[in-house]
């Protein structure tokens, strides 16, 4: 590595600081057999001073012995590693190369051009942010060029560099280059590639690789290295508005007082206190702490391996996905998927394979195969099976429902491998396109008429008024008055009353702690649907536990959940005893009665506190109405901010 001392002008510490902050670009190179991929990478390594003297000497020796350049330096030999490849003069497997410049670090997946090694190209493309596709200037856009472009686009790479190589063999012709560029751009429109950069190069001579070529003064664009150093690529999960996603890898339970969920953050960010949803179960909890190693951190972002602890003892295991509570991914067990077959034994309709997606492994059956794609022409062909290197669009059914996102939105929650159950080999890779039938756990269906549209129509900002308090505190009385008032003003409302709901929706539930939790969970979900319908929803439930009220709050957006604590001393509520329940409880005829032999956990920070022993029900209702007006939930003129 020919770095000289003058490259460390500010000393080693300054160099280290600068080098550490560099980001990482992963790219893939692909091209046909003799397009000069290995030469191009070898040359890049050489020019970025990644070749050591001893390796250089070996290169000189090898060039004489086995080189294809008549004894001249054959840079391809720097990267053609396996003896079998040297014998055959081809590249048979994806190889990873590393180099860095003053601006960036790079990992290159050097992938083979032969059709029979498509699976290796797909492997290399799966982790790349950008693809360099080589074409031979004498031959132009070939079938292989189209196939490679289709494959990298399929795997989600949106940045392509078309490197037109061997420009020396067409006398550095500008018109030849421009013809290929034009042809390629027309083709690329069919395959959803947004960013294309075309560069004329000569890998052997180094033209336009790291320095601008004097032989092609007509080319005004960046050199290959300049482009790689400056191009901005961001994984979809790393955009600022991406919702948090983390497949759980491992449950860390070193002692009874620590239960952490380890995983790599696939998208978004998370902080302590934020509500999370466990999928596919749908249970809600809240982040207690976040750790990277032993160190507690205030925030974790996409790309970090972390450990999360939650505030509640919810059931979470490997294969589950932790997601932002308000924006969970869908859950389903039937999909349309695009499958790339990678094994000699064909994929057969109806045969069961293991599917690994994220950290979950389930059984998957492929049926039907809708069509096979001719990767050279992009035509759809009928198929009953997929052979090695075939790509097909299929239905796929899983043994259990999984949380997922379409592959175009998430490589982690949308990309999967298929494993043969007998040989344990990875036989296929796939991309989920969309769910075919939604399971009962499904959370969102994007609809055109949404909450905002309904709220505009009804001139109100929908919200949940959650009345909590002891039995006999006056919750229902006050809620009823509020609803009458709202109704009189022409608002759209609904009142969910604890007793009434227990006669129908929740009649299968008793009063144990577990049933109370389920009781509230159902009511919270129902009120969320009603909120979504644009209503002002009143919930009048004892709802004695903080964690369930927190769960209900977490289901909706900030500002939509208004907790109203109907604060009445036990003796006052008991003295009212309109339903005679306290008497029964005291006599032991009624078990698990809140306030007597079951706890009530008062709210810590309710939006509204109604001291019902000091207020008449009407005064209490007016206090609630005042809150709604001040908060802009109801407004005469219809100015809505949601």
């Amino acid at each position: 590595m020919g770095l000289s001392a003058d490259l460390l002008p500010d000393g080693i510490e300054a160099y280290l600081t600068a080098h550490q902050r560099k980001d990482l670009l992963r790219f893939i190179t692909c091209g046909s057999v003799d397009d000069g991929k290995s030469s191009l990478i070898g040359r890049l390594l050489y020019e970025t001073r990644m070749v050591f003297d001893d390796q250089f000497h070996a290169l000189q020796e090898d060039s004489k012995k086995v080189g294809t350049r008549g004894g001249e330096l054959d840079f391809a030999l720097l990267v053609d590693g396996l003896a079998a490849e040297r014998e055959q003069g081809i590249t048979i497997d994806v190889a990873y190369r590393f180099f860095s410049t003053a601006k960036r670090k790079f990992i290159v997946a050097d992938t083979p051009g032969h059709e029979q090694y498509t699976r290796n190209m797909v492997t290399g493309a799966s982790t790349a942010d950008l693809a360099v596709i080589l074409v031979d200037a004498r031959k132009g856009i070939l079938t292989q060029t189209r196939r490679h472009s289709f494959l990298v686009a399929l795997l989600g790479i949106r940045h392509i560099v078309l490197a037109v190589n061997k420009m020396d063999l067409v006398a550095y012709s500008q018109s030849a280059f421009e013809r290929f560029e034009q042809e390629y751009r027309v083709f690329a429109q069919q395959i959803d590639i947004s960013a294309i950069t075309c560069i004329p190069v000569c890998a052997l001579g180094g033209d336009n690789l790291t320095t601008h070529s004097a032989r092609m003064p007509w080319y005004p664009g960046p050199t290959l290295l300049e482009h790689l150093e400056s191009v901005t690529v961001a994984a979809p999960g790393e955009s600022a508005d991406a919702a948090f996603r983390m497949p759980v890898q491992w449950v860390n339970r070193p002692s009874a007082d620590f239960r952490g969920f380890a995983g790599l953050v696939a998208a978004g960010s998370v902080r302590p206190g934020e509500p999370l949803r466990v999928l596919p179960s749908g249970r809600i909890s809240q982040v207690a702490n976040l750790f990277v190693g032993e160190r507690e951190v205030p925030e974790a972002v996409a790309g970090q391996s972390i450990t999360v602890t939650l505030t509640d003892e919810v059931d979470v295991s490997r294969g589950d996905v932790l997601a932002a509570a308000a924006q969970p991914p869908e859950v389903a067990n039937q999909f349309e998927a695009t499958i790339i077959w990678m094994h000699d034994e064909p994929l057969l309709q109806g045969r069961a394979y293991l599917m690994k997606i994220g950290t979950k492994t389930v059984t998957a059956t492929v049926a039907p195969i809708k069509y096979r794609v001719n990767v050279n022409t992009l035509e759809h062909l009928a198929a009953k099976k997929l052979d090695l290197n075939d790509i097909g669009v299929c239905g796929i059914e899983l043994s259990s429902a999984i949380a997922f996102e379409p592959y175009r939105d998430s490589r982690v929650l949308g990309g999967f491998i298929l494993i043969d159950r007998v040989t344990s080999h990875t036989v296929g890779a796939g991309l989920l396109n969309f769910a075919l039938r939604r399971s009962q756990n499904v959370h969102w269906q994007a609809l055109d008429v949404n909450k905002l549209a309904r709220a505009r129509l009804s001139r109100q900002k929908p919200c949940i008024l959650w009345f909590t308090g002891l039995s006999g505190a006056g919750k229902s009385t006050i809620a009823n008055l509020v609803e009458k008032q709202l109704h009189g003003e022409g608002r759209h409302t609904y009142l969910l009353d604890g007793d009434n709901v227990r006669h129908g929706l929740n009649k299968d539930l008793g009063f144990t702690d577990a049933d109370r939790v389920e009781n509230i969970r159902r009511v919270a979900e129902v009120s969320r649907l009603m909120l979504d319908a644009g209503l002002i929803v009143m919930v009048s439930f004892i709802s004695p536990f903080i964690s369930e009220r927190r769960m209900a709050r977490a289901l909706v957006q900030p500002g939509e959940f208004i907790e109203i604590y109907v604060d009445t001393p036990l003796e006052v509520a008991e003295s009212r005893d309109a339903k005679g329940l306290y008497g029964k409880a005291r006599r032991g005829e009624l078990k698990n009665f809140t306030g007597i032999d079951s706890p009530y956990e008062p709210p810590e920070n309710p939006e509204i506190r109604l001291k019902s022993s000091l207020l008449t029900p009407t005064a209490a209702a007016l206090q609630v109405m005042g809150y709604l007006r001040e908060g802009g939930y109801i407004d005469v003129e219809g100015e809505w901010e949601i």
Binding site: H19, L82, Y96, R97, F98, T123, Q249, P254, E294, S424
Partner: protein, 299 residues
């Protein structure tokens, strides 16, 4: 949201790999060679499972020709973190008198490769973490992170499983085992930088110090103890030397150096004109020697 830098990404990827293996294999072990890459691997493993201990033992293949300082460091490290340390030596080979300077390349085959196979079979480990990096050597550049070995511990480069995204297929057939390389995507510079940044403890042999050395075939060999036979012509000199890689001391050449601290080592590394493995005499027998070794089960 702040973008992660390259070392943070490499760290996260390695931790992910450790966790996948532990979640999906029955009896994993970490190949602990006591070198800098092993130090970084161990540091990452501690992070991956904190506050729990890494749920696997450390396995050291001791050839009998290990630097004394490495053995001390090894024992102290295992003790400090409360980890189980397994040490295996090919006793048969040792009894047969296989020595670095008498058996050439067969020495490494017998005392390292064969010894590793013996140990893996003896304990029945189904997954072994190794510190190999793809930037080290051309055949490593093409090896998967999860690299399968047949029951005979052979690697078949033409029949590797496709490895997409960060989805690792850890399912094995009967008799198969996996070598897992959490540092696959790290470079030598990344390793040093990480050691510097995180304060990862390393064997002091990596830092320059006056040490007794003899010159053989133009290479400096450290006279670690009296096991190294000295010829009448050998002149033991005290020189300020250090090691870029560490193996068996009669096979590991020292380099003249003044780098007494990590920035010094990194500076030297940046300015050097030879690759890391040049100091390893074992790697220099034929251009494809590493590939052959790997096919036979060398780590």
């Amino acid at each position: 949201m702040s973008a992660l830098d390259s070392l943070q990404r490499l760290e996260a990827e390695s931790i992910h790999i450790f966790r996948e293996v532990v979640a999906e294999s029955e009896k994993p072990v970490m190949l602990y060679s006591v070198g800098k890459d092993s130090s970084v691997m161990l540091h990452l493993a501690l992070k991956a499972f904190a506050p729990a201990k890494p749920p696997f033992a450390l396995l050291h293949i001791a050839s009998g020709w290990d630097f004394r300082e490495m053995l001390e460091f090894r024992d102290a490290t295992a003790q400090r973190f409360g980890l189980q340390l397994l040490v295996h030596t090919n006793e048969e080979g040792a009894r047969a008198g296989v020595k670095p300077w008498t058996h050439g390349a067969t020495y490494a085959d017998i005392m390292l490769t064969e010894a590793l196979r013996q140990a893996l079979d003896k304990y029945g480990f189904d997954a072994a973490f190794g510190g190999g990096r793809r930037d080290e050597e051309k055949s490593r550049a093409k090896e998967r992170v999860f690299s399968f070995r047949s029951a005979q511990h052979r690697w078949d480069p033409k029949n590797q499983r496709p490895e997409l995204w960060q989805l690792y297929n850890a399912r094995k057939n009967r008799g198969e085992s996996i070598r897992v390389f959490p540092l696959s995507n790290w470079t030598e510079l990344d390793v040093w930088q990480y050691i510097h940044q995180e304060g990862v403890p390393i064997v002091p042999l990596y830092l320059a110090k006056p040490r007794p050395v003899v010159t053989r075939d133009g290479r400096l060999l450290m006279v670690d103890d009296d096991r190294l036979p000295l010829a009448a012509s050998d002149r033991v000199e005290i020189k300020s030397v250090r090691f870029r890689t560490l193996g068996c001391y009669p096979l590991t050449a020292a380099t003249i150096s003044d780098a007494v601290d990590l920035p010094g080592v990194i500076e030297e590394m940046l300015l050097t004109t030879t690759s890391e493995r040049e100091g390893r005499i074992v790697d220099q027998e034929g251009a494809a020697s590493m590939e052959k070794k790997k096919q036979e089960g060398y780590f």
